[in-house]
């Protein structure tokens, strides 16, 4: 086993400044993931050629792959840094190849590995990814019945943590493109099958029938390959396709 790990980070001080690469060598330690590795760099921010620098900035919070904060591009693939184990990367890459970390490129850069993903939340507003309720109080009525199999399907989609990996991998999604992205479409699917959420199904479908909506999907299927929660994004998109067609007919026939 190797004694030291080389981590190459694409850095950028400010959204308007140029990016540059910096290499850091940290001692190998069994069980390291990329968040703990970045913490080791932060503890002693000295580059591989011995220069003391400012510690790289990155976003992280839960470190259990449930908050979605620590998305970054790791050796070319968008993933959660917290659940990416160094040992596994070494197996994939061999100990000679450095581990490269880059910020997600589809979102505006903030600093180093941090990006601004507020667009995801804006898109969720556009498609009304919520259930309309009369108010957050008890109406003394029991929950609607949902079959375990229907529950199973919904639960897959409700685990989406807005990490942005699917959007990063999608060729149709980008700063200059209008496409809302797979994660947002999957939420439309989730809310549309809910027993009361389906009351607003037409509204949500109309929201994805305009520019940047469903028809912008190029069916590259990258999204489903990178989703850390293994959400069946492409099947959601497929189902929505049929729903949208149905809605079109309804709209025409009134």
């Amino acid at each position: 086993m190797t004694d030291s790990i080389l981590i190459r980070i694409r850095r950028q001080k400010h959204p308007d400044s140029p990016s540059y690469w910096q290499d850091f060598a940290i001692p190998y330690k069994a069980g390291h993931n990329l968040v703990s590795a970045l913490m080791a760099i932060r503890d002693n921010p000295v580059t591989a050629d011995g220069k003391r620098v400012d510690p790289p900035a990155w976003e992280y919070n839960c470190m259990e792959e449930v908050c979605g904060a620590c998305s970054m591009v790791i050796n070319g693939r968008p993933r959660q840094a917290c659940s990416t184990l160094i040992d596994e990367l070494l197996k994939e890459l061999g100990s000679e190849t450095p581990i490269t970390l880059e910020p997600l490129k589809k979102f505006p850069l903030v600093r180093d590995l941090m990006v601004d993903r507020s667009r995801i939340f804006d898109e969720l507003k556009k498609v009304k990814a919520w259930i309309e309720i009369d108010g957050a109080w008890d109406v003394h009525e029991r929950a609607p019945r949902i079959s375990p199999s229907e529950w199973n399907e919904s639960y897959l989609f409700s685990r989406c943590m807005s990490c942005g990996c699917c959007m990063e991998a999608c060729p149709q999604f980008g700063p200059k493109q209008a496409f809302v992205g797979p994660a947002v479409l999957a939420q439309v699917r989730l809310k549309n099958i809910h027993p009361t959420g389906r009351y607003d199904k037409a509204d949500r479908l109309h929201a994805i029938m305009s520019d940047g909506g469903l028809s912008d999907c190029g069916n590259a299927q990258n999204c489903v390959r990178v989703c850390p929660k293994e959400i069946p994004l492409t099947s959601a998109i497929g189902e929505l396709g049929r729903e949208v067609t149905g809605q079109l007919f309804k709209d025409i026939l009134g």
Binding site: G31, V53, C62, E64, C67, W130, A136, V139
Partner: protein
């Protein structure tokens, strides 16, 4: 036209978002401040469930039993009227969450399912797969987003709360906050402020199951300006957390429940692969020390036993702070079926498969029962809290409210499993409703306050940043945080003694001094994480002093606060009615008359000042000691 009142909520986890929702529903404008996108708040980490008596399993479960379990579980230290109201309203809260679209797990009939949790006899934890917290949080988050789309809620994500704006009478009239990108400090006026900033596990460094932002710094900043803390010495340590350099992740209690055995090699220098260590050379200390319960002893007992085997017997695996939690003797099929999803977590983060290799675990700081002191108004008719009273969830600063893990309200000396999501939701809702009552009772709404005074506060905060940025000598904030965590874990952890606590106090004074001069490797004025970390470390050290002083003062064992010197042991094999048990009960009551009190901590120039307050035990009087035999 009368000016529309405006509220600031700090923190966007379950508690904060519930209060936002109730305030927005009442027609008032709300701004939410959060260190990150609110959807990433620590509430998403809660896995197991949320308690509510639905009584759908033929067990004749009752609200009263939920109240008793909560109160006894917390060793009677919680004020009982709020606990009563919380348990009574839990089923209604669940029904509300359900309408929000939360994907609660279903029975074959398509109705909500409930499951069993530790410390109780009935199934009453509603759950959504193994990500209940995430699902509940998203439910409220989506409702708040709906109000945001109507421009009734405004989010300030990537802003850090720094201090309160107080008027001349000491009323809270807004906050100062720092933009975490431009690092600009600004004053924001409001007619009321809610603080919902969660737990403080990071005071124990990386030895916590909490998220990296659960530093407790925000609540401590309110404390510095006059908000009292209560019961901060009560911190729940979860016995089985995975090891890690970044954090310690929870390994569910279910692993022991399904037959997992905890052991250490009899020889701490044993270098063999654990799988090849023969039975005779293994020490199954829980089974040895607690033959009746073995590996399934209660959480706090297990934590203390693991602590003892490592720190007193010197038997930690490889001389380190760890023991084995072993499932390898069990049937693979059985274990996979029963524990599959939680074992995946271990695999994912450790790399080893617990079916092949014993897990390495150690107790870890999990949940703060204590927090900011909050008031309540008792309803003498019902015995619960008076709904709509502006006193509910009010801190000791007028106009400042607290909810969620950062308040101290519901758990006493120890929290029951699946009660944290409940208290976060309930307290957020109540705090929101209280704020609405408070606003309706205000004579003057916004705008009249002296702006210059608030500008002074902004300048004071900028000066703190400037002085930190000027330093280039000393420890980095990261090093100081490591040291703080090691000190707190060693001296103010699972098992405590007064000599150790006094050493901790000395150590904290030294750390506080060093934290005045830190080495800032980052001199940037843009997204400077070192600067915010440095400020949080200073606050965590101050908060650690409050915890340590409170722990030093309390000479007893109660719930999560354990000082062996003052332990009152239940006589072995003796039960109520036996003279030995009754003698114990008498001692227990005598101890209660001295210590069944809320610890209050006030900020003073020489450190925290501790006083005590009576606890309202009007619902379940302290007659029966906690006894899990």
């Amino acid at each position: 036209m009368k000016k529309q009142p405006h509220v600031i909520v700090i923190g966007g986890g379950i508690g904060g978002l519930w209060s936002v929702l109730r305030i927005a529903e009442a027609g008032f404008n709300v701004s939410v401040f959060s260190l990150f996108e609110v959807k990433r708040s620590h509430s998403v980490c809660a896995q197991g469930g949320i308690n509510a008596v639905l009584d759908t399993k033929g067990e004749r479960d009752s609200i009263h039993q939920h109240v008793v379990d909560t109160i006894k579980g917390g060793s009677y230290l919680a004020n009982q009227p709020p606990v009563l109201s919380m348990c009574e309203e839990a089923p209604g809260l669940i029904r509300t969450f359900e309408r929000m679209g939360v994907t609660f797990s279903r029975t074959p009939e398509g109705l909500m399912d409930v499951r069993l949790f530790g410390g109780v006899k009935n199934k009453r934890a509603c759950f959504a797969g193994s990500s209940t917290g995430q699902q509940l949080m998203y439910g409220v988050d989506e409702q708040v987003r709906r109000y945001e789309s109507m421009d009734k809620v405004k989010k300030f994500e990537w802003w850090e709360f720094l201090s309160l704006l107080l008027d001349e009478e000491g009323n809270c009239k807004g906050i100062t906050a720092m933009d975490l990108r431009s690092m600009e400090v600004r004053a924001f006026q409001a007619d009321a402020v809610v603080i919902a900033t969660g737990g403080m596990g990071k005071v124990f460094g990386h030895r916590t199951t909490n998220s990296s932002n659960s530093t407790g710094a925000a609540a401590y900043r309110c404390h510095l300006q006059g908000a009292q803390y209560a019961n901060t010495e009560f911190f729940q340590f979860h016995p089985t957390a995975m090891l890690g350099d970044d954090k310690t992740r929870l390994m569910s209690e279910a692993a022991r429940g399904e037959g997992g055995r905890i052991w250490v090699p009899r020889d701490p220098h044993d270098k063999r692969d654990p799988r090849s260590i023969p039975e005779d050379d293994r020490f199954y200390f829980l089974e040895d020390w607690y033959p009746a319960y073995g590996n399934t002893v209660a959480r706090d007992v297990a934590s203390r036993a693991i602590w003892r085997v490592v720190h007193e017997e010197g038997l930690g695996v490889a001389g380190e702070n760890k023991v084995y939690l072993d499932l390898t003797h069990l049937d693979r099929k059985f274990v996979t079926a029963r524990l599959g999803s939680i074992l995946d977590i271990y695999c994912k983060f450790n790399g080893n498969d617990p079916l092949d290799y014993p897990m390495e675990i150690f107790p870890s700081a999990h949940y703060a029962m204590g927090g900011l002191w909050i008031d309540y108004e008792k309803d003498e008719q019902t015995g619960g809290i008076k709904h709509g009273s502006p006193r509910n969830h009010a801190t000791s600063i007028p106009g400042l409210y607290a909810c969620g893990e950062c308040d101290y309200g519901y758990h006493g000396a120890n929290r029951l499993g699946a009660n944290s999501l409940l208290s976060a939701s309930f307290s957020g809702r109540v705090a929101g409703e209280s704020v609405v009552s408070y606003l309706k009772g205000l004579n003057q709404i916004g705008g009249d306050a002296p702006q210059a005074h608030y500008q002074d506060e902004v300048e004071r905060q900028v000066a703190i940043n400037d002085s930190l940025m000027r330093c280039s000598n000393g420890d980095t904030p990261y090093q100081l945080h490591h040291e703080l965590g090691e000190l707190m874990t060693a001296k103010v952890g699972v098992v405590r003694d007064n000599a150790g606590l006094e050493e901790a106090e000395t150590g904290l004074v030294d750390l506080a001094e060093r934290a005045g001069q830190m080495c800032m490797d980052d001199q940037s004025g843009w997204s400077n994480q070192s600067l915010t970390y440095a400020r949080q470390v200073q606050d965590m050290i101050g908060l650690a002093r409050v915890i340590t002083r409170s722990a030093r003062m309390r000479d007893e064992c109660r719930g999560a606060h354990h000082k062996p010197e003052f332990d009152l042991q239940i006589p072995k094999d003796k039960y109520p009615g036996d003279p030995e048990f009754e003698a114990y009960r008498k001692q227990w009551k005598a101890n209660n008359s001295k210590w069944l009190k809320t610890t209050l901590a006030e900020h003073g120039p020489d450190g925290p000042r501790i006083t005590y307050e009576e606890v309202d035990t009007s619902v379940v009087p302290p007659e029966e000691p906690r006894d899990y035999r």
